[in-house]
Amino acid sequence: MSEYYDEEFGELGLVIGDFNIPQRAADLPPQFKDLLVPNKVQYVFCTGNVGNRETQDWLKTLSGNTHFVKGDFDEVKDIPETKVVQIGSWKMVMVHGHQLVPHGDEESQYTFLKEMEGDVLITGHTGVAKVTAVEKKYIINPGSATGGFNGQQTSIPSFLILEFKKEKLQVFIYTLDGEVKIDKQELPLQK
């Protein structure tokens, strides 16, 4: 069946992070829990600061392919600081972002991505969902899944779903502002 579907429905990846459960938030918003069920996404990319073991385990139930990078509050020992994952024609580079200074600075993010020779940088730390194109590359940030991140303020809970196609990446941005809102962005592959 896959040969018929590849043209229409691509593989899905969940990009999520900065939970900080239970330090900054009690739990994932119920509306998000409702949406995120097992066996829908092929990949999970976690930007870091998961918080407790339970949340990490929960992420692992969503798909067989989970990728974690270490946030500044992650205590687990066996998570790497950075990670590179190749999905089809897309080279994804993951880093939490607290390591790049100034924090949230596009230029330092881009420089890092270029050094790693990646197409897309998956990063967190800022707590704000963002999708940016820089030169021929992309920087995507799922924001904070719970709205509680390492700053004093809270933000709008959010995460991303990526649909991997050969020539483009479809990004679905899920935010919770009273109700769940979904925005779409299409990122063509530029090499």
């Binding site: 069946m1 018929y4 429905f9 899905l12 949406l35 995120l36 829908k40 779903i161 979904i182 779409k184």
Partner: protein
């Protein structure tokens, strides 16, 4: 091509090695098919003992007629094949290869019934569920990747179009029909589309087939008592649960485990029964029990179970079983 009559002359080609009796059967069937309108009752009379390896060339046409896939008027057969090939292609395209998500509000995690993404996941689940059974169905005959894909497609599309759940057992039915089509000596009948439509017809005819119906188990038991009370009483005394047989014999219709030629032959008989399928099924089941009477009547619970749950491994003369089943059916009609 559309107006070309379906060729039945080739049925009597290459009769080397075939017994005189079977050669006659082939020629008799051919004669019936030569008429503009097929005499269905006459055909059934000839075919009701089922086909063996020597006469299996007749199966393709006979099944298509008895299922109602072919009309009785032969001049339409070629048309039917061509038209359904087209229809099937469209069905495949519409249901397996779909247009990209149209709705602007659609997203991958949607659970709306009209969400393309949601339907995509449901389809994937259905496909996988079927695939788990397909990979171990008739591995010897349909193990090739191409055949597996066909079998998966047929089951998937039938379930999807009829909005019904896939149930174990359907794979065995579809496998028999697919094998029957693809192993036909006549190339014009080797069509996945024919297999699909014949399977759809069969599923329509077997509406509640996969539900255990206690009254039927009871009826089976009662008939055995009538025909052979000694065997019946012995089995009952040994605490035999007749509903065990019900699944493999009355629900799966002998389609599983048996050598494929035997399953096909039993189905030849069942299709020839038209509206008396159920009644004949009881007689067939009882005929099997009587065939194994000697071992069963001295066996204890364990031994009986061992024999009956491995029917295909017993040394059975299927021709005898079928003949006896027909006799039993005749006798029951007199009562």
């Amino acid at each position: 091509m559309q107006n070309q009559d379906f060729d039945i002359e080739s049925l009597s080609q290459n009769l080397v090695g075939i017994s005189n009796e079977n050669q006659q059967l082939i020629k008799d069937v051919q004669n019936i098919l030569r008429n503009e309108i097929v005499d269905e009752d006459g055909l059934i009379k000839l075919c009701q003992q089922g086909f063996t390896n020597q006469t299996s060339r007749l199966r393709g046409i006979v099944w298509r007629l008895l299922l109602g896939y072919f009309p009785l008027n032969r001049k339409y057969w070629t048309q039917v094949i061509i038209k359904n090939k087209d229809n099937y292609n469209n069905i495949k395209i519409e249901n397996i290869k779909k247009a990209p998500p149209q709705n602007k509000n659609d997203h991958p995690l949607s659970r709306n019934t009209d969400s393309d993404w949601n339907n995509h996941f449901q389809d994937q689940q259905l496909w996988s569920k079927i695939q788990k059974d397909v990979i171990r169905t008739r591995v010897k005959e349909l193990g090739k990747e191409d055949y597996r894909e066909m079998l998966n497609r047929i089951l998937f599309l039938c379930c999807k179009l009829n909005k019904m759940d896939y149930v174990q057992g359907m794979n065995e039915f579809a496998a028999l029909i697919l094998y029957m089509c693809m192993s036909d000596p006549n190339e014009k009948l080797q069509n996945e589309s024919d297999a699909f439509y014949c399977f759809m017809i069969l599923m329509t005819n077997l509406k509640n087939n996969f539900q255990l119906q206690k009254e039927k188990v009871r009826a089976f038991q009662d008939l055995l008592k009538k025909v052979d009370w000694k065997l019946h009483d012995h089995l009952v005394n040994q605490k035999m649960d007749f509903s065990i047989l019900y699944v493999k014999w009355f629900m799966i219709l002998f389609a599983q485990d048996f050598h494929i030629d035997d399953s096909l032959r039993i189905w030849d008989c069942l299709f020839c029964q038209k509206n008396n399928r159920e009644e004949f099924l009881y007689c067939l089941a009882i005929s099997f029990l009587i065939q194994l009477r000697e071992e069963l009547i001295v066996g204890d619970f364990g031994q009986i179970l061992l024999i009956l749950q491995n029917l295909e491994k017993q040394d059975i003369n299927l021709s005898e079983v079928i003949q006896r089943a027909h006799l039993l059916q005749k006798e029951q009609k007199k009562c």
